[in-house]
């Protein structure tokens, strides 16, 4: 009797010790996480209900959200954002899958060479990348006009970033070059980890390369594809530096995105409540997109 009490007491003590130790180890990260991620997230929801500017702080319920749905610039920015996402996510995924599937079979040193090259624009940093592209797109002495004229694609200099029809596509192109690095790294590692015995068995049975790829490798790299879809979607939704530095959302809002419009309303016009409401909507849209991709990928499996 005495002994069982001892044991249960000891158990309780161990459990308490584990709890205390666990929370002590968690304390630093939890403090930063709660203070600088969770708390602001909550505040974002809260302030979206207020007419919150430099001078005002009045509760207005959902009227920021009502205003959003009637704001043509928000509508335009939403459409631009969706164009960017729809154009870049599939191209980034397919391109990186293609590159990954070629380079993972090369010699190690060649694999890392190509992996580094495609990662370079990411490491170079959005600001440095943006300023050099701005120079290359320059209508008077930009490199691209010179090259395209030389190739006979255009006959006179184009103002690529100042033209409503081309500006958004320029952004999408630059975004593409800075987006494929991480997916390629992930695909190379996923493809190298594909179970080889299955591939060999299929080859012995006379399967073509295409069949081996789609029937055996593709299902095995599905979790990676899913992850890449989600991160590429989030990245495309958040594309900001490019737009702020290249076009400031112009010409005539042709390149304004939700992220840029949030910046403009909240930090240029100091409309914090309105900006927060847009932030909430953006978070919901991203969550929905990710959820849909999860569903599609799951049913595909």
């Amino acid at each position: 009797m005495q002994k069982t009490i001892d044991i249960s007491k000891q158990l309780k003590q161990t459990r308490r010790r584990e709890n205390i130790a666990g929370y002590l180890f968690m304390a630093p990260s939890l403090l930063f996480f709660a203070g600088f991620v969770i708390f602001p997230m909550g505040m974002c929801l809260f302030t979206s209900m207020f007419d919150y500017t430099m001078t005002n702080f009045d509760f207005v319920g959902f009227s920021n959200y009502y205003e959003l749905f009637r704001d043509p610039t928000f509508g335009k920015s939403l459409i631009n954002t969706i164009i960017i996402v729809v154009a870049s996510v599939p191209t980034v995924c397919l391109f990186s899958l293609w590159v990954g599937s070629i380079i993972y079979k090369l010699k190690d040193i060649h694999t890392s060479f190509f992996r580094c090259i495609f990662y370079l624009p990411v490491v170079t940093g959005s600001v440095a990348v943006t300023v050099v592209w701005k120079w290359m797109f320059n209508p008077y002495y930009g490199l691209l006009n010179y090259v395209f004229k030389g190739l006979g694609i255009i006959s006179t200099n184009m103002n690529w970033l100042g033209n409503m029809d081309t500006a958004l596509w320029c952004i999408i192109l630059i975004l593409f070059t800075t987006s494929v690095g991480q997916p390629i790294v992930l695909y190379v590692s996923a493809l190298s980890n594909v179970d080889h015995s299955l591939v060999e068995a299929a080859e012995v049975d006379g399967a073509t390369n295409m069949q081996v790829f789609w029937r055996i490798k593709w299902p095995q790299i599905m979790p990676t594809t899913l992850y890449i879809l989600v991160i590429t979607t989030i990245n495309s939704f958040q594309c900001f530096a490019l737009i702020q530095l290249l076009t400031s959302g112009g010409p005539n809002y042709a390149t304004s995105t939700i992220m840029y419009y949030i910046y403009y309303e909240a930090f240029k016009l100091s409309r914090y409540g309105y900006g927060s409401a847009m932030g909430v909507i953006l978070a919901i849209i991203i969550a929905l997109f990710s959820a849909v991709q999860f569903r599609l990928a799951k049913s595909d499996q």
């Binding site: 997230m41 440095a128 300023v131 992850y227 900006g275």
Partner: protein, 277 residues
């Protein structure tokens, strides 16, 4: 059979040639930054591009350091090192606890960390700005460092690495009478060192390039980073591309060198961070 092998080879050859062309295109902006930074105004503004500066000039760099780029670099390095050290300490401890400590609420806590990662970081910038103003650290480098440390990716990554520590080793340490702190510093830390390395380099590079956060938090000329500095050059002297390219080179070449030196660690960090069930 022979035929199919040959077809594969032909495809492979074409594919590799195409890859090399793409590699040149992907490296070109960097080449243009570096060569551009050594060009004089005539070479910069010539309608027919000067492919290589045959008479390189250092005028752009001299001008750049009067802007003052030295201060920008100092701020950037300080910011990145601080963010890196704090993130590694906090994340190594937190990740270990999430992987190995059976405390109440562990499951829920982990789910919250993972969900927060999927949310757009920039959405919280508005309240974050107000919070920093309230804490009286707005316009200091700490306003950028603290939120970087709070981002949950590090904890997530370190949890992945900590799971590989064999429970028997922790058990043995406990039986030998090692306290929690001793166990962490002597047993756990050496085992997750590669993970910490990966996280360190990852945090450093991310912090270096986190333009949006810096843009919102830092306005004073005293606290500008190199990214903000380049952006400022561009908005003030938008046609002096030689100077702007010198800034871009200063902002990107050091970080590229660091990336190339530690790319093994870095790649591992990216891959480990993605492996989830």
């Amino acid at each position: 059979m022979d035929h199919s092998v040959q077809k594969v080879t032909a495809y492979k050859v074409i594919a590799v040639i195409l890859l090399i062309v793409l590699a040149v295109l992907f490296t070109f902006p960097l080449y243009w930054i570096i060569t551009g930074s050594f060009k004089d105004a005539r070479a910069i503004n010539s309608p027919a591009p000067v492919w290589f500066p045959l008479q390189p000039t250092d005028a752009n760099y001299i001008k750049l350091f009067t802007k003052p780029a030295g201060l920008w670099m100092f701020n950037t390095v300080f910011l990145c090192v601080m963010a890196m050290v704090l993130t590694c300490i906090a994340a190594a401890m937190g990740g270990y606890a999430l992987a190995k400590k059976h405390f109440a609420g562990r499951g829920i806590l982990f789910s919250i960390f993972v969900c927060a990662m999927a949310l757009p970081k920039q959405v919280i910038l508005i309240p974050l700005l107000k919070e920093m103003a309230f804490l009286n650290i707005h316009n200091t480098l700490w306003a950028v460092i603290l939120p970087t440390v709070g981002w949950p990716f590090g904890v997530f990554l370190m949890k992945q690495f900590s799971e590989n520590i064999p429970n028997e080793m922790l058990e043995a340490a406990r039986i030998d009478g090692a306290g929690e702190a001793r166990t962490f510093t002597d047993i756990v830390f050496p085992m997750i060192k590669p993970g910490v390395g990966a996280l360190a380099i990852f945090t450093f590079i991310t912090a270096w390039n986190d333009y949006f956060l810096q843009l919102i938090m830092l306005n004073d000329t005293q606290v500008l980073t190199i990214s903000l500095g380049i952006a400022k050059l561009q908005s003030e002297l938008s046609t002096d591309y030689g100077l702007i390219m010198a800034g871009a080179a200063l902002g990107s070449v050091p970080i590229i060198v660091i990336f190339l030196m530690f790319q093994k660690f870095f790649t591992r960090g990216i891959t480990m961070g993605a492996v989830k069930g």
